[in-house]
Symmetry: C2
Subunit: 339 residues, 2 copies
DNA sequence: CTGAAAGCGCTTACAG
DNA sequence: CTGAAAGCGCTTACAG
């Protein structure tokens, strides 16, 4: 592996100059720069990360992370991903500033402001899909603070990229799984999180799209639980009472535990085919008990670590990398026997 | 973060001495060592990886990797994991030496020998379950070259750990998936790889165990294809001709493509429920075509990167880490809509 | 526009 | 048994 020192010797200049050329720091004679670049290319120079890391010891890159409140255990896993990656990058000077706030535009706005005050260099956020947030994020961008959305995207945001699930596809997968695991006439109900949340409505569409041409399926009810377990209990209880013919349920988001409780209380545990998303402990418990048939997971940990990795790479690279529009996590179906 | 320099100043000794104490290098006065250790503990000293990496620039850790031949595309993925991790560890001086050999004890033996000749410091291997291999690996251990088994384990080997699938569990998962996706009477056939291969027979047992108390299921045939697609074609063709009542097939290992071809040629594509393992391109193609219902994957890439990570950590750490007996990969069910 | 020098934290001959 | 010094590769004030 070629080093800066070698290149400097070959080019007959100092190491400092080579460094300037290689990192596009301004103020180097054009001819000198060309000569250095040619040699660097010939030797296929790749910077040594250990050297970079050591020299960067005093530098600091502070990356703000805004995800949802502690009430939603799904984000515990995403956070685990952030922390794992942050530990790995800590010796390159990467530091993270985590804020877990309520799912509300105002809470997010004030979290964003406090991030700015603490001097973040980049922001990773699960945005509430709202005009206010959109504006706030776009003005961050103008300040030169790049934004990456994670887990959930928002419309019209000027973000670097989105890291998370393909929600339409995951809804379709839920529909397909429903087909695979049922026979005959299926009367289904859907329990959504919040129809104002982009990803929840996308899962719903995916599910409906996939099943609409299958004459076996009839979707007779769809309600929102706003990701709240108590609300979820009531809604499911009510839905199943009004529609005793329902024999399958699809939960597009959280509130799985409350909903399943209602099913247990109605003594319908065995007679319903239930598909959910994600694998928080309460969901795993319901799978273990045989109440939920399968759950479709979305690599929350990967979402955290990947988004931080991309942000850090972007912040530290000289030639800004070209990012994909979206980085989709894999869908992972789990049943009792694979958890 | 405390540094060696700080500790040296506080202890009133040189940095060299601190280094000797911290890394258990011999020949330090006991009292001095104690003093240094106390201070290090007080400051919660953690070595700076960048510093270590830079200083280790001239060192080299060569790790041998022996997996199966290029005919088995599953190992392409495992290899991708090895290479990704090797790139990450390269600036700590980690180098890998990959040998892909035929699934045969003699081929493995000679690969092991050539690894020794090239001076490996550790070996990661997917061992053929055979006395000869076992002896060879145990003698490696005696030479001080640690061994990790990956993807497949062998009996009575003195290895550091095993990184791979829990095959019994994955067979059970296949059985459960079969139950979930069928109704009424199911007459099943099993296509095994090689009954002498530990993991293949474990999957078979898991599958049979899971289904034996379910009166809906009848397993009427079980044949070996030795992971060969042509052989697999013949076996499946023959099995389905002799047992026209078969309406479900389980492939415990490779040879999926050949088997599915036979099914197509017999015009039975729609009428069989088929469960397989892994997601090599040919398998994905058969899922896309609706011939295979679901496939259970085992994180091949993770198996490669995890095993290399563990080996490198073991080789480079001062206090040898205590490893688990086994590191199991997650099981990941995929259907057409999630690939 | 460029160079010489110091420094990031750890390791390692070498000298004593 | 211990210290002083050089070195790993990259970066960064500072001086010119």
């Amino acid at each position: 592996m070629a080093t800066i020192k070698e290149i400097a010797e070959l080019a007959g200049v100092s190491r400092g100059t080579v460094d300037r050329v290689l990192n596009n720091r301004s103020g180097v004679n054009e001819d000198t720069a060309k000569k250095v670049m040619t040699i660097a290319r010939q030797l296929d120079y790749k910077p040594n990360k250990a050297g970079m890391a050591l020299a960067a010891q005093k530098k600091k890159y502070l990356i703000g992370i805004i995800v949802f409140s502690k009430k939603n255990p799904f984000f515990d896993e995403v956070l685990a991903g952030f922390e794992e990656k942050a530990a790995e990058l800590s010796f390159y000077g990467c530091e993270i500033l985590v804020k877990r706030v309520a799912y509300h535009p105002d809470a997010q706005i004030s979290a964003i402001e406090s991030c700015i005050n603490e001097g973040i260099h980049g922001l990773i956020i699960t945005p509430y899909n709202d005009k206010k947030i959109c504006d706030a994020l776009n003005s961050l961008n103008k300040k030169g603070i790049p934004v990456i959305t994670v887990n959930s995207d928002a419309e019209n945001i000027n973000r670097l990229t989105y890291v998370g699930s393909d929600y339409l596809k995951s809804g379709e997968a839920a529909g397909a799984l429903m087909q695979l695991t049922t026979i005959g006439k299926v009367t289904a109900g859907v329990i959504m999180g919040d129809s104002h949340i982009l990803c929840h409505s996308q899962r719903h569409s995916g599910f409906v799209n996939h099943l609409q041409n299958d004459s076996r399926f009839d979707i007779v009810a769809c309600e929102e639980n706003f990701d709240d377990d108590l609300k979820s209990y009531d809604i499911v209880y009510d839905m199943l009472s009004r529609h005793p013919e329902i024999n399958a349920l699809y939960f597009t988001a959280a509130g799985v535990h409350g909903g399943c409780k209602a099913i247990q209380d109605l003594d319908k545990a065995g007679s319903l085919r239930i598909i959910t998303h994600d694998d928080m402990p309460t969901t795993l418990d319901m799978i273990e008990k045989g109440i939920i048939t399968a759950t479709i997971c979305q690599q929350p940990k990967w979402q955290g670590s990947k988004s931080l990795e991309l942000m850090f790479e972007y912040l530290t690279s000289v030639e800004k990398p070209i990012l994909e529009k979206c980085y989709y996590s894999e869908l992972n179906i789990k049943i009792k026997e694979t958890i």
